[in-house]
């Protein structure tokens, strides 16, 4: 088993789980109990962390790391577009509210 | 067993279906003369109250037999195999509309039967069912037009010494398609030749459908299957 175990993938999994657990910490840090308060900081942080995870999954699990440059650029562009669209929609909604 | 086994049975179902259609047509009290779209809700409701049984039995007949035209259409599709076409596209076009045409008719019988199911309901609702039935019946022609059109194109493209159907059948189908067109506009007016009881939308349309079935029956009877052992031509 020693030779076939992929340390890099395990490390990636650990990082992803770590980020996921960070959410618990964020939630705990902000507090709120039964009726939590709204927070732009938490929202932006949650979205950004999720997109970091998406990029890690693409680069490592989906092996974009070894893919031709075009695919690397396309997936990076996707993450950027997602970030812009999600944060933009959130900001626009707050402006309208 | 040959590829043509049973085709003659399908062919001879046509007179039976025709008898049923004609019987149902005369049995339905709203066809001779066709009910007017200008009738008030009260009059429409009274019509279904007075003629409940005849509406029901005639429409049950149509409900049974309107889809019986599909085997005949499939027989035409089989004859099209003998046409000098490079691809089966035209046959697929015909199959694609052959099912929908009787289903549209079937839908209108459902509305008529619903109208007669509880004739004592509010007159406005009976009028609604009546309108739905007549519009589906009169305007539900897109697939009939398409059948004529596709058949005409198929015949025009069938360029061989002895075509499956004569060139005149294509011309006839084009004329039939054109004659059906006014019925599509029946919603635009409540009286005149375009209204659902008008000269164009009712008489021309239904006579053309009857004529089309008769003409196609004759040419279908004459067209012998190609490519296999010839069956002696009926009629």
């Amino acid at each position: 088993m020693e030779t076939t175990f992929n340390r890099r993938l395990f490390a990636v999994w650990l990082v992803l789980v770590g980020i996921t657990l960070t959410y618990l910490w964020i939630d705990h840090a902000v507090g709120g109990g039964a009726l939590p308060k709204t927070s732009s900081a938490v929202t932006v942080a949650a979205i950004c962390l999720a997109l970091v995870k998406v990029r890690i999954i693409m680069r490592e699990f989906m092996e974009v790391r070894h893919a031709p440059r075009l695919l690397c650029h396309l997936t990076d562009l996707l993450v950027v577009v997602m970030a812009a669209a999600l944060l933009g929609a959130y900001a626009a909604g707050r402006l309208v509210a | 067993m040959k590829r043509t086994t049973g085709e003659r049975i399908i062919y001879w179902t046509l007179p039976v279906v025709a008898v049923m259609w004609i019987a149902a047509f005369f049995l339905f009290p709203g066809f001779l003369p066709p009910m007017s779209p200008t009738w008030s809700p009260a009059r429409v409701a009274a019509f279904y109250r007075d003629h409940t049984s005849r509406v029901r039995y005639s429409m049950i007949l149509f409900n049974w037999f309107c889809v019986a035209l599909i085997p005949i259409l499939m027989l035409i599709v089989e004859r099209m195999r003998g046409m000098a076409h490079r691809t089966p596209i035209m046959r697929y076009c015909l199959i694609g509309v052959a099912g929908a045409a009787p289903i549209a008719f079937l839908t209108s019988t459902i509305f008529w039967l619903l109208a007669a199911f509880r004739p004592d309901r509010a007159p406005a609702l009976t009028q609604l069912y009546n309108d739905l039935a007549w519009i589906t019946f009169t305007c539900g022609i897109p697939f009939l037009v398409a059948i004529c059109f596709f058949l005409a194109v198929s015949i025009y493209l069938d360029q061989q010494v002895r075509p499956v159907f004569g060139r005149w059948v294509a011309h006839f189908n084009i004329l039939a398609a054109i004659a059906l067109v006014p019925a599509g506009f029946a919603g635009l007016t409540l009286n005149g030749p375009f209204a659902w009881n008008g000269f164009l939308s009712f008489w021309v349309k239904n006579v053309v459908i009857a004529l089309w079935i008769a003409v196609m029956a004759v040419v279908l009877g004459r067209a012998a299957p190609r490519g296999g052992a010839l069956v002696e031509a009926p009629a």
Binding site: - | R86, A100, I135, A146
Partner: protein
């Protein structure tokens, strides 16, 4: 190009069907978006009185537009015939082709005939009881948007055939695009439940996003059907690539046939 040479082109039926497909989808777009203005759809939360005003506001458009569909709607079968042909050209069972043919042949009645009938009946008597008019309004929009199963299963059948095919009739990515289109039929289902909001029949998700996906899908498949006809060699093996552009490929195909 003389008439005779057009007649002797072995692809004439394919081209006729393709041009009829383009004509049908153009007509469909013009009727639904311009003449009847029934798309983007009316509001599902309208009161009976508002529905009456809605019908009054587009009385002529509805009647003329849907009359055009009543006359020419059967042309939709040409797209269906071409797609059936494309599946038959693949290295898969013909059962896929015939399933697709039957599914979409059935789909025509609930998919567009019902809305035409309901809206025509609604528009022809503007003085009808508003509550009854709203019944027709609901029937029209919901039968149009809510006829989901045939398109869902049809797309999945086409997808499976494309993914299994070895004859390269369609690129595999189009197979996956079929899955995206099938998923829009899942997304539209809540329009049967909501009277308002993003998932209603006019909602941002259930209508706008779906219509973009469907529009892209339709445009792409019409283009790919054209490519298929250009590449067709009437053989049974893999479809050749478009080596020297359209006309040259056609000459080659004619020489081969």
């Amino acid at each position: 190009m003389t008439r005779r040479s057009w007649r002797s082109d072995p692809k004439r039926e394919l081209w006729l069907a393709w041009y009829a497909t383009v004509a049908f989808y153009s007509l469909y777009t013009v009727v639904f978006f311009v003449i009847t203005r029934i798309q983007p759809p009316g509001k599902p939360w309208y009161s009976p009185v508002q529905v009456t005003e809605w019908f009054a506001g587009r009385h002529d458009g509805l009647l003329v537009g849907f009359a055009l569909i009543f006359v020419l709607g059967g042309l939709s079968a040409t797209a269906l015939a071409l797609i059936t042909y494309s599946i038959r050209r693949m290295s898969v069972s013909r059962a896929f082709a015939y399933s697709y043919l039957i599914l979409y042949a059935i789909a025509a009645v609930p998919g567009f005939l019902f809305i035409c009938v309901a809206m025509t009946v609604g528009a022809m008597r503007p003085d009808r009881n508003p509550a009854v008019l709203r019944w027709l309004y609901d029937f029209g929009f919901l039968s149009f948007s809510g006829t989901m199963g045939v398109f869902l299963v049809g797309s999945l059948i086409w997808m499976t055939a494309i993914l299994l095919d070895d004859n390269r009739v369609f690129p595999k990515w189009f197979g996956y695009l079929n899955l995206c289109n099938a998923l829009t039929e899942v997304v539209v289902a809540p329009s049967w439940i909501f009277h308002g909001g993003v998932l209603a029949w006019n909602g941002t998700i259930a209508w706008w996003i779906n219509v973009v996906v469907f529009g892209l899908y339709t445009g792409v498949f019409i283009f790919l059907l054209r490519q298929m006809i250009l590449r067709e060699d009437f053989g049974t093996g893999p479809l050749p690539d478009l080596g020297l552009g359209g006309p040259a490929g056609q000459v080659l195909a004619e020489a081969a046939s």
